[in-house]
């Protein structure tokens, strides 16, 4: 039984990681807690849901459209609500404006799709397969595969592509990198675009592996992204991956063996303990404060 729970937890964690990556990237570059992140990916997932059920579009095509919508929405939000408030003295204030954006997106999607839980069709046929004697639905494996592909591509992109290098530079020091000729506004827009796009993938995977989609997923998604990126060390992609996997494992193991009611309490308590022992997260590095 434990192995099944382990694999389920791993694939749940992989979804969490996808949601957390965008969140963590934004934090790494702007030190901004993006409260609207969850609602953006929920919105994208709902777009995918509508395309699939109402217009009977090809699943691949509808996922791509949803990803594009999520990405564009994220960078639009950045342009309208965060860019005017950029800069360290506005840091806390831009967080509140992010909350305002979260309200707006949440309310808009509520008016389009109502608050109830929707049935989300499985994108692929979902038979149980047995690998090494473990009975797991195919989607779980698929999820793990997708996450590995995304993380590897993203790491390569950041390391070798010009824009990716620009993102890394900007997360080190915005003024210095703008002096080096990196277009900061464009770079930050791209970070949001990437974050929104990857988040939507996570949202769709979550919805299709549990066959359910609701608006409240947005806010709980923000919290999950938050937790996962803090677990791993906020600001780094690999940290978000590690944190997401740990969080998924914790959720499934604690939920199965201890109690579902106290699942969140226990994971939160572990989060606090990790923060107190390693204040920068598991993979986080200390950066000395400059005077």
């Amino acid at each position: 039984m434990f192995t099944e729970i382990f694999v389920v937890g791993l694939s749940l964690g992989a979804i969490y990681a996808l949601i957390a990556i965008g969140y963590s990237m934004v934090y790494g570059i702007l030190k901004l807690m993006n409260f609207a992140h969850g609602d953006i990916y929920a919105f994208g997932s709902f777009i995918c849901y509508t395309l699939l059920t109402k217009y009977n579009l090809n699943p691949i095509l509808s996922i791509i459209i949803a990803m594009i919508v999520g990405g564009i929405l994220a960078s639009m939000v950045e342009r309208l609500a965060y860019r005017p408030l950029r800069g360290p003295e506005y840091r806390n204030i831009s967080m509140i404006s992010a909350l305002g954006v979260a309200y707006i997106i949440q309310n808009t999607s509520e008016n389009f799709w109502s608050r109830q839980v929707h049935f989300f069709p499985s994108i692929i046929s979902n038979p149980f397969v047995s690998i090494f004697g473990i009975q797991i639905p195919t989607t779980q494996y698929l999820t793990l595969g997708i996450v590995i592909i995304v993380v590897v591509t993203l790491n390569l992109f950041l390391k070798y592509h010009k824009i990716g290098k620009g993102i890394l530079c900007a997360s080190q020091d915005i003024p210095a990198s703008s002096l080096m000729g990196i277009p900061i506004n464009k770079t930050i827009s791209i970070v949001y675009l990437l974050g929104g796009t990857i988040g939507v993938i996570g949202g769709i995977l979550y919805a299709s592996s549990y066959n359910a989609l609701s608006i409240s997923m947005g806010f709980s998604g923000t919290i999950v992204a938050f937790e996962a990126s803090v677990f791993g060390g906020i600001g780094s992609i690999n940290g978000a991956l590690v944190g997401g996997l740990i969080l998924g494992l914790l959720h499934s193991i604690v939920g199965f063996y201890v109690s579902t009611a106290y699942r969140d309490v226990i994971t939160f308590a572990i989060l606090i303990i990790i923060l107190l022992v390693r204040p920068k997260g598991i993979l986080g590095r200390y950066v000395e404060e400059k005077v």
Binding site: Y103, N107, V230, V265, F268, I272, P279
Partner: protein, 319 residues
């Protein structure tokens, strides 16, 4: 001269606020004023923590809830009088505030925010699941009407007066505190923690102090809410509630006590005015928040805030 003027203004405001129910007879509006008072107490104390000491605490609803649950349990199960229950609610909130403040004293900036969010969620989840202690999701009902000496507080108007006393207590003590040595230390920490510590300010101690003092008032507000509403449930102390308080503080103007009240009034009246447009209410509130903050980052009344000129000195490097 200026000091005298301020005192006169405050006395006038106190007198006016006590006379208000003789002009406004409608209980619906007095109910809204009561809400304004509760949130004003909460946001004033949050402003001390966030606006003056720059500790972004998004778990203030938990301390509000701790106060409310303390009063509810003391009144329904142990038949306490209201006044000791009120004080005890504040004290227990301080106790938890000290606990959180001390355990997080080494954690900086955003990680403090994370822990405060998580603390709030833990509180809510425990209250929701520990049915024998807190009544679970239903909460505690039938909290008796409070009585202070011979004053039995039952009607909406009586509650208004009680809330007003608590509110002025909060406002006056906090504005005195902010101007004292303690308050100056808080402001120094807000402006630059490192510089403050080199000036000989024990930053950790002062941060814990600021946090727990703020929690005391939150406990009082919770106690008032419990007797006013006569029933409490974990759904009143969610993360949304903490976010709402932060929004009110920022919308009013951080680091300015009077401005906070304007933020509270704008948010609560916006909710009431937009009530007919039920489906678009959050949308409109979100729009107001974004537009006001993008236009005036220091809040509605914060436009006149002196902080702006001080903050200009910040250069972009400092993150």
């Amino acid at each position: 001269m200026k000091k005298n003027k301020n005192i006169i203004i405050i006395i006038l405001a106190v007198a006016l606020s006590f006379l208000l129910p003789s002009f406004v007879k409608n209980y619906y509006w007095i109910g809204i004023f009561n809400l304004v008072l509760i949130y004003s107490i909460l946001c004033l104390s949050l402003n001390l923590i966030f606006g003056f000491t720059n500790l972004l605490s998004v778990g203030h609803a938990a301390f509000y809830g701790i106060g409310a649950y303390t009063t509810a349990i003391l009144l329904t199960r142990y038949h306490f009088a209201f006044f000791p229950a009120l004080i005890l609610s504040g004290v227990i909130a301080v106790f938890f505030g000290l606990f959180l403040g001390i355990s997080t004293s080494r954690v900086r900036g955003d990680y403090f925010t994370v822990i405060s969010i998580v603390f709030g969620e833990i509180f809510r989840l425990i209250m929701q699941n520990w049915i024998s202690f807190s009544g679970g999701a239903v909460g505690i009902v039938g909290i008796p009407a409070p009585q202070i000496f011979s004053w039995r507080i039952i009607s909406e108007k009586d509650f208004y007066f009680l809330g007003l006393i608590l509110f002025w207590f909060t406002y006056i003590t906090l504005s005195l505190l902010v101007k004292s040595k303690l308050g100056r230390a808080f402001i120094a920490i807000r402006e630059d923690e490192l510089a403050a510590s080199t000036m000989g300010i024990h930053t950790i101690m002062y941060k814990i102090l600021s946090f727990s003092i703020g929690c005391f008032y939150a406990g009082l507000a919770g106690s008032y809410y419990a007797v006013y509403n006569t029933a409490i449930a974990p759904s009143s102390f969610t993360l949304d509630e903490s976010c709402l308080m932060i929004i009110m503080v920022v919308l009013g103007g951080i680091g300015n006590l009077t401005a906070t009240i304007s933020g509270v009034v704008v948010m609560l009246f916006a909710t009431e005015v937009f009530r007919p447009l039920y489906h678009y209410r959050l949308l409109l509130i979100g729009l107001i928040m974004v537009i006001v903050l993008v236009r005036y980052p220091y809040g509605i009344l914060g436009i006149f805030n002196k902080m702006k000129s001080i903050r200009k000195k910040y250069n972009y490097r400092k993150v």
